[in-house]
């Protein structure tokens, strides 16, 4: 009898401890693009704040993130969407205004990345990274004097191109090739863009998201549509690769950290955002993922060759680039309709 009691009490203890080990902790839910953070930073944050546990999830594009937070009951605490998506979230009243007293490191962000058009008073977002869209190519296989978006539609590149399976990026470059804006709202132009993309199929080796990076590093394809930051990472792994920002004008994007309105740990989320802006952390992160930093001290500490690389293009390139705008629900639905018709045409 005594033995049974002993075993039972041991079991009770075990169950208690198992239950206790996590229950005291605040869970911080971070939802970010895939391959877009140095995940060892989470360990540092948890070490510094033993009462916080980070639960990390990733998405492949802004639209997937939006659909998830709109329909899911999960309350995320920190999101890192892009400009036009932040604009949409603000318009739909889905973000919480930030308390900058809790984010003193916000002062480290370069003024030129503050108060941008998608968040004009900078009430909701802290810049995370920025970059451009361009063409990553294998120098041994692709020789071009100048790159334009049309290069990706050139018939000589049969079965050679990895296209991004991202609605705004793919339709965007098709629109641009046709001489329209990345932010076109015309049904006629979008239909033309769809047909243009469908006509590109013989050139395409695959429609990819982040898996395109591994494929380029492994030399699976000579050319890919890619964000500058991902391209920098690929180049660091495979020296045959190079990156070009097309002459006819690129997309310029700003990804920022925001807190959704239904977050239950707003202060913890602000603490995390502040942590991400600490110079040492922001530097490690930028080094690892290859994207362009909006952080003054991190930028100043960059080696000369990085500052002169495509990651920080000069004014002439940036002037020609367009930032995506949120085009309203009706036009967004039109984009979605055209995009799924395009996918169906494959």
């Amino acid at each position: 009898m005594k033995k049974i009691a002993l075993v039972l009490s041991l079991i009770m203890c075990f169950v208690c401890f198992a239950g206790c080990s996590d229950s005291g902790k605040t869970v911080l839910r971070v939802y970010n693009w895939g391959e877009y953070i140095d995940e060892t930073i989470f360990d540092d944050f948890e070490k510094q704040n033993p009462d916080i546990r980070i639960q990390y999830e990733t998405y492949t594009d802004n639209e997937t993130m939006y659909t998830k937070i709109k329909n899911s009951s999960t309350a995320y605490d920190v999101l890192i969407p892009s400009d036009y998506m932040i604009e949409r979230l603000i318009q739909e009243d889905m973000l919480a205004p930030l308390n900058y007293d809790n984010i003193p490191n916000y002062s480290m962000i370069d003024e030129k990345y503050k108060n941008l058009a998608f968040d004009p008073e900078n009430k909701y977002s802290v810049p995370y990274m920025w970059g451009t869209l361009g063409i990553l190519y294998d120098e041994t296989l692709v020789q071009e004097d100048t790159f334009t978006w049309e290069t990706m539609f050139d018939a000589k590149y049969e079965n050679s191109i990895l296209m991004k399976k991202d609605m705004r990026d793919a339709l965007g470059i098709a629109l641009k090739t046709l001489g329209y804006s990345f932010n076109s709202t015309s049904e006629k132009e979008l239909t033309e863009a769809k047909d243009k993309l469908s006509s590109q199929k013989p050139n395409v080796a695959g429609y990819v998201n982040d898996d395109g990076m591994d494929k380029m590093i492994a030399g699976e394809a000579p050319m890919a549509l890619m964000y500058a930051g991902d391209a920098a990472y690929c180049i660091s792994e495979n020296e045959n690769l190079n990156f070009a920002i097309p002459e006819d004008g690129s997309n310029l994007f700003f990804d920022s950290m925001v807190i959704p309105k239904n977050s239950t740990n707003k202060e913890t989320a602000e603490k995390f955002i502040n942590f991400m802006c600490e110079t040492e952390i922001a530097q490690r992160n930028a080094d690892e993922i290859g994207y362009s930093t909006p952080h003054v001290e991190v930028y100043n500490a960059l080696p000369e060759d990085v500052r002169n690389s495509f990651a920080y293009p000069d004014e002439a390139v940036l002037d020609k680039a367009e930032v995506y705008l949120y085009l309203g629900e009706e036009v967004t639905n039109l984009y979605e309709k055209v995009w799924s018709e395009f996918l169906a045409s494959l």
Binding site: K70, N71, N159, K165, A205, G206, Y207, S340, E341, S345
Partner: protein
């Protein structure tokens, strides 16, 4: 008797709850979303959007590729099922383990593993090159997708057929032999007709998941072969257009049910083959 019946009900209760929550309610929701527009008013808009050449072609492609995969599974699976059910092959346990072992691994991982084998600089191409042969692009076409379906669904064809063949009483076959029936006669007039129920459930278990798959086409088709499952996934996960996604799901369900009904009709007729 009455007591027994209520006992049955109690035993059934957990399953009934499961059935209602996870089958009936979702089906009703899909019906609701499919037949209403964004404003929640009854309409056929979603179906109207679906019935246009591009989407119909995707549906047709899904049915066709799945049918091809089913035929391959049947041709490859039937002999294996016969070997398993027969007495001539001694290492049956080993064969069963080899067939089942891959199913212990996650379906996604298994399909992903094929990428490493088939890609441009993958294992197969390295071997081809070592033998002085030119590189092949295995991925990104319908063959790769059919291959993926056959690979993943083959066991679902083999085991139902094996079951029905092994249930055939040995004395029927012995009687046939006594009456002078040869191998061919025994197979076509006894084994094949009596294994039809297994074939039917094998076809169902391969064809239906084949029609609705989206992972295989995304991985092995490199996103270049869109199946109807891809479109449905796109509507729910990306576009947030549940109405359209539900409408496509309803169309696919109706088509699949009709296909299965036809297959079952055929199997009833085939009973005539029995002497």
């Amino acid at each position: 008797m009455k007591v027994k019946k209520s006992l049955y009900m109690v035993a059934l209760f957990p399953f009934l709850i499961w059935l209602i929550l996870l089958v009936v309610v979702p089906l009703m929701l899909i019906g609701y979303y499919g037949f209403t527009n964004a404003a929640g008013i009854f309409s056929f808009d979603n179906f109207h959007q679906f019935f246009q050449p591009d989407y119909l072609r995707v549906l047709w492609r899904s049915l066709y590729l799945s049918l091809v995969a089913t035929v391959f599974c049947l041709l490859a699976g039937y002999p294996v099922a016969m070997i398993l059910a027969g007495n001539t092959f001694r290492k049956k346990t080993l064969l069963v383990v080899l067939l089942i072992a891959p199913m212990w691994m996650n379906f996604l991982l298994r399909t992903y593993a094929w990428l490493t084998l088939l890609e441009g600089n993958g294992v197969f191409n390295t071997i081809l090159q070592a033998m002085g042969l030119p590189k092949q692009s295995f991925l990104g076409n319908t063959n790769a997708v059919v291959f993926g379906m056959v690979y993943n669904f083959l066991p679902y064809m083999i085991f139902p057929i094996y079951n029905s063949i092994s249930k055939i009483p040995k004395n029927i076959l012995e009687a046939a032999r006594d009456l002078g029936g040869g191998n061919a006669t025994c197979f076509f007039r006894i084994i094949l007709p009596l294994s039809v129920p297994g074939i039917i459930s094998g076809i169902t278990m391969v064809f239906v998941p084949g029609v609705t798959t989206f992972v295989i086409s995304q991985f092995l088709g490199s996103g270049k072969v869109t199946l109807i499952g891809d479109i449905i996934e796109q509507q729910f996960m990306h576009a947030g257009n549940w109405g359209f996604g539900s409408a496509i799901s309803i169309v696919v369900m109706v088509v699949v049910v009709v296909c299965m009904w036809l297959v079952n009709r055929f199997s009833d007729d085939s009973g005539v083959m029995m002497p």
